[in-house]
């Protein structure tokens, strides 16, 4: 019994590492230096600039403009953590490799997590660049910032958002593609997660969506870290973030099993 568990863990670990290597190499080949430049350098600058100018034009106070700048700096990680991760299964379907992958006895969780793990680095890099822009170009005040809390908040937001991307990715197992939903959730955070204005300004019927997406809690934790809030103030949002991230990840695993079973039953794995 104990031997079986150890063997399963070892095989899961091998699948995870193999998948991580494959995922990162594939991404590095695809994301050549100009793609990196676009994703890490240009996209955050463009998005932050758009909303910063918009908030200035709408006569927002300097504090509120800073709120908008920080919000967008963090939200840009969605390009990597949500969009890229959500398209993992759809890409396999496009390339015709999904049926082969699902024929292997390897743990699905290990395979998918391995492919997504690399995006933790990418999404953290994107948001860090966004925060550097916030400081150097948009005058956000970091004088009171607690950098340790900020780093932890960024990392946990990235991991939780990748779980959210995985949840969307499961749709690609059964439906033709997850790309459409991935596109929607790439940008919907701008509206519902408190990126540009507090969620209290949203209509009540929209707010439940805010509480499901981990970015909402991540943003609170990041803003409090920059404002120099104490351990308990930041910690409560990090706790929410971890709980939400785990819930979303569990849901992703459950849906992977469900959609894989449905796809096998209906023979839809290769339908595209």
């Amino acid at each position: 019994m104990e031997l079986n568990i150890r063997r399963a863990l070892f095989e899961g670990y091998r699948a995870l590492i193999g998948s991580l290597r494959f995922g990162s190499r594939g991404t590095i080949i695809w994301d050549s230096w100009d793609m990196w430049l676009l994703e890490i350098i240009i996209l955050p600058l463009a998005q932050i600039s758009f909303f910063e100018i918009l908030a200035t034009y709408a006569n927002y106070s300097p504090a509120m403009v800073q709120y908008v700048v920080i919000g967008n700096a963090i939200q840009t990680m969605s390009f990597s953590s949500v969009f890229a991760v959500a398209n993992i299964t759809s890409s396999d379907k496009w390339q015709g490799t999904l049926p082969s992958i699902l024929l292997t006895p390897a743990s699905r969780a290990s395979i998918i997590m391995g492919r997504a793990l690399y995006q933790i680095i990418m999404s953290t890099l994107i948001s860090t660049t966004g925060l550097l822009y916030a400081y150097f170009l948009f005058g956000v005040n970091f004088s009171s910032a607690n950098y340790l809390f900020l780093a932890v908040s960024l990392l946990l937001t990235s991991i939780s958002m990748i779980s959210f991307g995985l949840l969307i990715s499961t749709i690609g197992l059964y439906m033709r593609t997850a790309m459409i939903v991935a596109n929607v959730f790439l940008f919907i955070g701008l509206l519902v997660c408190g990126v540009n204005f507090p969620i209290s300004e949203l209509p009540v019927w929209l707010r439940p969506l805010s509480y499901v997406i981990p970015l909402t809690y991540g943003l609170d934790a990041v803003r409090l870290s920059i404002a120099g809030a104490g351990f308990y103030a930041v910690g409560i949002y990090l706790l929410y973030l971890v709980i939400d991230g785990l819930a979303v990840f569990s849901m992703a695993l459950l849906l992977t099993k469900t959609f894989e079973r449905l796809a096998r039953k209906s023979g839809r794995l290769e339908i595209y």
Partner: protein
């Protein structure tokens, strides 16, 4: 009119109809190209909701413009990209008709698709944010919209050149989406932009087009310090320049693509 010209018009028409049929067969694919402008406009409406004056109509018109920009940019990136994906790019380039006319038909439909976003935004602005949709001069508004539409299509055609030679063209055109929203003053006056960006803004026909649309729609709107007719003239001139540049670059790019023989590389 020579038979060659008729043939090219027919190609543009056929290409446009085929793209339209593809759209109606699977309309969900409009979402990736309009979701960004749609959400950006909704956020703008929230941010502007406490500001008095005709700012909401200003934002709704800007949102419509962003929708057309979004589908133009996305469509230009994907029109050749999908050919490459599906393995039909070689056949398309082997046809006796220059590629430019085939792409033009696709780009015109893609820009037209953007008006779907404009309708959504208009409906949300009217029903949710109670935006008054009174147009000051409907005739000039219609003319301005059509000329701006043509200018966007011509710009999309120019962009499509990038994609013929590069497998990454689709991603690059996605990357310029937000910068063009900023540069053309879709949601705020270009006077708020840094000086070096303003030069780029003035070189874009749609910057003048959106200014004309707003002048025709909003009574008392000042915008750029020129009359609406100057706006329209510059938009037309920019469209002609884009078309001429597109014709030149498409000829060059087609030759390079055929000489290198790397069209199918993906």
């Amino acid at each position: 009119m020579s038979s060659g010209e008729v043939s090219r018009v027919q190609v543009v028409k056929a290409s446009m109809i085929l793209t339209a049929r593809n759209f109606f067969a699977d309309p969900q694919w409009v979402i990736p190209s309009i979701i960004a402008p749609f959400v950006f406009t909704l956020v703008s409406l929230f941010l502007f909701s406490h500001v008095n004056g005709p700012i909401l109509l200003y934002a709704v018109l800007g949102g419509g413009m962003m929708g057309m920009w979004g589908t133009t940019v996305y469509g230009s990136g994907s029109s050749i990209g999908f050919d490459r994906w599906n393995g039909t790019l070689e056949c398309t380039l082997s046809a006796p008709t220059p590629l430019m006319w085939i792409v033009l038909g696709r780009v015109i439909w893609n820009t037209l698709e953007g008006s779907i976003n404009a309708l959504f935004i208009l409906a949300i602005g009217f029903l949710w944010f109670r935006v008054g949709i009174g147009i000051a001069d409907p005739g000039l508004f219609a003319i301005s919209t059509i000329i701006t539409f043509l200018s966007l299509s011509a710009f999309g055609l120019l962009l499509a050149n990038i994609v013929v030679l590069s497998r990454k063209g689709g991603f690059l055109t996605n990357g310029i989406e937000i910068p063009v929203y900023i540069a053309t003053g879709t949601m705020f006056p270009i006077g708020l932009l840094p000086f070096f960006v303003q030069g780029f803004s003035f070189a874009l026909g749609p910057t003048w087009g959106i200014d004309a649309i707003r002048k025709a729609a909003i009574a008392g709107y000042t915008g750029l310090p020129v009359s609406i007719y100057v706006d329209l003239l510059v938009t037309v001139l920019a469209t002609v320049v884009y078309m001429a540049l597109s014709a030149y670059f498409f000829t060059k790019v087609e030759k390079i693509a055929k000489r290198n023989g790397t069209l199918g590389d993906y």
